[in-house]
Subunit: 334 residues, 2 copies
């Protein structure tokens, strides 16, 4: 493994401390929001987000659905901005997730939720941002400045914020205890090797259930850092067609922490291998060794080897990992 000399590697290593601080400093704000949610239960949630934050929204679909029974819709920002026809959000919890809080379209969704009198939440690193100003409740990620273009610590901090919201909303103390053990598990995960050969030009990335989000975020990290064409799928979506075009130069990166979704992931990997495609599996004792975590929290740990693998692959390709392909950190889109 190459010596970590980038800001990206530093930010990856900060994650256990960042999450420990978030759980400590933001619990009161999250508990206040949970009280409001129990007082006036929403029927569903709408989440506006882009990029890595959109993958946090995919995790929220799973965890709020599973633990709180709440269906989650990803927002359609263009209806709020370009078309001027925001849907009626009665009985919705409206959530914006944005590191910078500066995205006008994500802010527009939150502002429309507030204008319609609904409960609104901003999850952001910048508490005086436009998005935070538009929301009634704010969870401040408090990760410190994220200087690398590729989001790492703000991604896992946002996952932790969503997990904490789910735990607080249920009021189940055992979930909170499991969450409290997360920083230690992430530190142990960082001690595992994350260096495997992935020398393909194209890559299917699979995961399901809690780790559907992990597949999307891992694919995004690999794509943005290395330029490899990495495409995320659930195992059923892979089996539905794309499995046919896998081959020696087009393998599978699979996330299979133990849980209800793991068998389907392993079946898809076996089918890929039968077809002559290489596969790398992340799981306990697998190619990328995952530490044991409660399954609902496993996305926080499972993404770490993906972040590190993407960084190592980029370095091997001579890419400047803190600023791959000349990208800058913030994009303002409407």
């Amino acid at each position: 493994m190459l010596t970590p000399v980038s800001i990206l590697h530093d930010e990856i290593a900060e994650q256990p401390a960042v999450i420990e601080r978030l759980l400590h400093e933001q619990w009161a704000a999250i508990a206040t929001l949970a009280d409001a949610l129990r007082d006036a239960p929403p029927r569903f949630a709408v989440i506006a987000a882009r990029g890595s934050s959109d993958n946090v929204a995919r995790y929220a679909q799973h965890v709020l659905g599973r633990l709180c029974g709440i269906p989650v819709a990803l927002a359609t920002p263009s209806l709020h901005t370009l078309y001027g026809t925001p849907p009626r959000l009665d009985q919705a919890l409206v959530i914006g997730i944005s590191q910078s809080g500066a995205s006008p379209d994500v802010t527009a969704v939150v502002a429309d939720g507030a204008a319609q009198g609904q409960l609104t939440l901003a999850i952001t690193n910048v508490p005086n941002s436009p998005m935070a100003a538009a929301a009634e409740h704010v969870i401040e990620l408090g990760t410190g400045e994220e200087r690398s273009v590729a989001a790492t610590k703000t991604y896992t901090a946002s996952l932790a914020a969503v997990a904490a919201l789910a735990a607080a909303w249920t009021g189940d103390q055992s979930l909170r205890e499991e969450l409290r053990a997360t920083p230690q598990a992430l530190a142990a995960q960082l001690d595992k090797p994350a260096d495997v050969d992935l020398d393909w030009e194209r890559c299917a990335v699979i995961g399901r259930g809690a780790n559907y989000a992990t597949a999307f975020e891992a694919a995004l990290k690999v794509k943005e850092l290395t330029g490899i064409a990495a495409e995320p799928y659930s195992p059923p979506d892979l089996m539905h067609g794309p499995i046919a075009v896998l081959g020696p130069d087009h393998g599978v990166l699979a996330f299979a922490p133990p849980g209800p979704a793991a068998p389907g992931v392993h079946e898809a990997v076996a089918e890929a291998r039968r077809r002559g495609a290489p596969a790398i599996v992340a799981g306990p004792g697998a190619d990328l060794d995952l530490v044991a975590m409660p399954e609902w929290l496993s996305p926080l740990g499972a993404v770490i080897p993906a972040q590190r693998l993407a960084a190592v692959l980029a370095e091997r390709r001579g890419i400047e990992v803190d600023r791959p392909f000349g990208l800058s950190k913030i994009t303002r889109t409407t």
Copy 2:
């Protein structure tokens, strides 16, 4: 352009007649459902679907949000099947979209909606399928058997079903008139050439608003028929990062029917070209010439050149377009 000799080309050409028949034969069923929706208005919709039908769901997010004010969530089937923790669906309209109606996980979402006493709708080609049996309301696509692996007529028929639902739900007669003119517009679209050079190994496909779904469906057609790594984005998502890896062999296929979303699509195309990436634009008088249609219905027309282009590119590559890469038509996933 090569001589169309495949079943796929025949099925593409059937689309105007298929949609004319659907609008005629299914209007009564759709009007009955619209009455039920006005009697007990749902707060939101949940849609379960896979593959091309999932892209129909993306169109439904736009059109039900815009015309009916209804937020739409794409379902998380694993919560209904693998985890056994379906979300509470109170006040939801639960929709399953599946050509075959045979997918166990899509059926499970519809069945859970019915078990929870919610309004349920199946959009399918097979009215005696398990999914249709689970639903209170059925829109029968009536396309006749679709023999090619790549969905074409069932995709546009499903779009028409969703558009008809939106029009009926609003009760706006002018929308119904616009819808009635669709088959004629599609026939005119089929008379336009759809043969351009797209000789890239990788392709970003962009669209937004009504045609966000078109970007996803066009990317899926190109990917499944040709094997080219085609990746769908909204223009903001493209600008957020992937634009940096475009290049001479990695161009942009853009959908820009006139409307609120078109300027952003054109801006992204201009930026791609500034960076030396080739671009093909679908729009009135553009590289792929689109016939004029009301913007909310434009996805029905805009996908046709994408279907035809994907077929032509596949034929040039020597791929058997009715059964690319040895795929079979139905995949059963849980």
